[in-house]
Symmetry: C2
Subunit: 200 residues, 2 copies
């Protein structure tokens, strides 16, 4: 620890945190395509080489600063939260969990949704995140023996319901959906997630 | 008709069609925010005043050139197609109808999806289109006496399922959803639309 601190003007964790904070600001302002690692380094007051030291590239930096920060914890714990409880209520828990996360992080979440469609790299990152880290995990957890095609289809359809709801509530702002109280959405959309994740 | 033709170098319908075609090209290339009515006029080879003569503004031009062109006919006929048949199959018909439209117009439809999140004006146009012209019409047609809040909620949720499916298949390209054959999606997503439009 002490050795780490002596390497530069900041401790490693501080540097990493400063880069993440600067990246969030740059991505929010200039979008994914318009953000360079050099600009992030400048905003963070660090050498560009340090950005490359801590992050594998722009997509990694985006995932760490925007995608993961819009979550309350690691993706695995989110998936665990959805799975924990009666199987026949997994859909309700999923919607309640997501809405809880989104409502508390509206602005960074909206930035993420906007970035999905403007950058193929972000779309890929979100795709992998949704299908592997969240819904793929949930589906595999619920039915371990499922064939890959069927697992992908279930996880993917659940992801369409979740992203459609998020788009409708935060970006397109559909009347009825944008102003519904969260529990109304849990009651209406929960059965949909249930049917996608565990069709009867 | 003959009098119309004498007013300018082109007949009215030809001028309008030329403006629409130029607008599609400009919106596809520069996006909604980056397209000016002046640039559209230039691309169409007409006086900018003519663009204002035929269209109320940029949002109207976008609706006419991109939103409506991604449909096979007027929105009312699309809504009618969804409603016509047994009530308990309205969800299946909705998904089958939309997929039919989307698959045949993938690229302009993708451009539309991308524009929704980058422009508040486009989001508003799409919101009004989805809730009033399509799903509002279907819900009102199925249950005329419904209270406004409930009608908006049903129409809005149906719109989240449809846009989520479109995003997942054409923009995010979720495995399982992007490569599923259309009838598989009709079977899985149909009951969801059914439950949103006509909850039991």
């Amino acid at each position: 620890m002490a050795a780490e601190a002596r390497r530069g003007p900041r401790r490693g964790e501080d540097t990493r945190a400063a880069i993440l904070e600067a990246a969030r600001g740059e991505f929010a302002r200039a979008g994914y395509a318009g953000t360079s690692l050099r600009a992030v380094a400048r905003a963070a007051g660090v050498d560009p080489a340090l950005v490359h030291h801590y992050f594998e590239g722009k997509d990694d930096l985006f995932a760490q600063s925007v995608v993961l920060v819009s979550l309350p914890g690691p993706p695995a714990s989110l998936a665990a939260q959805v799975m924990e409880g009666p199987r026949e209520e997994v859909g309700l828990r999923a919607v309640r969990t997501f809405l809880g996360v989104w409502e508390a992080r509206r602005s960074s979440f909206e930035a993420l949704l906007r970035s999905i469609v403007t950058s193929e790299e972000v779309a890929r990152a979100v795709r992998e995140f949704l299908t592997q880290e969240i819904f793929g995990r949930v589906v595999s957890g619920l039915e371990p023996g499922l064939e890959e095609d069927e697992r992908d289809l279930r996880a993917g359809l659940a992801a369409t319901a979740a992203t459609g709801l998020a788009m409708g509530r935060y970006v397109v702002r559909l009347p009825g959906v944008a102003d519904a109280d969260p529990e109304t959405l849990v009651r209406r959309v929960g059965p949909v997630l249930q049917g996608y994740l565990l069709p009867r």
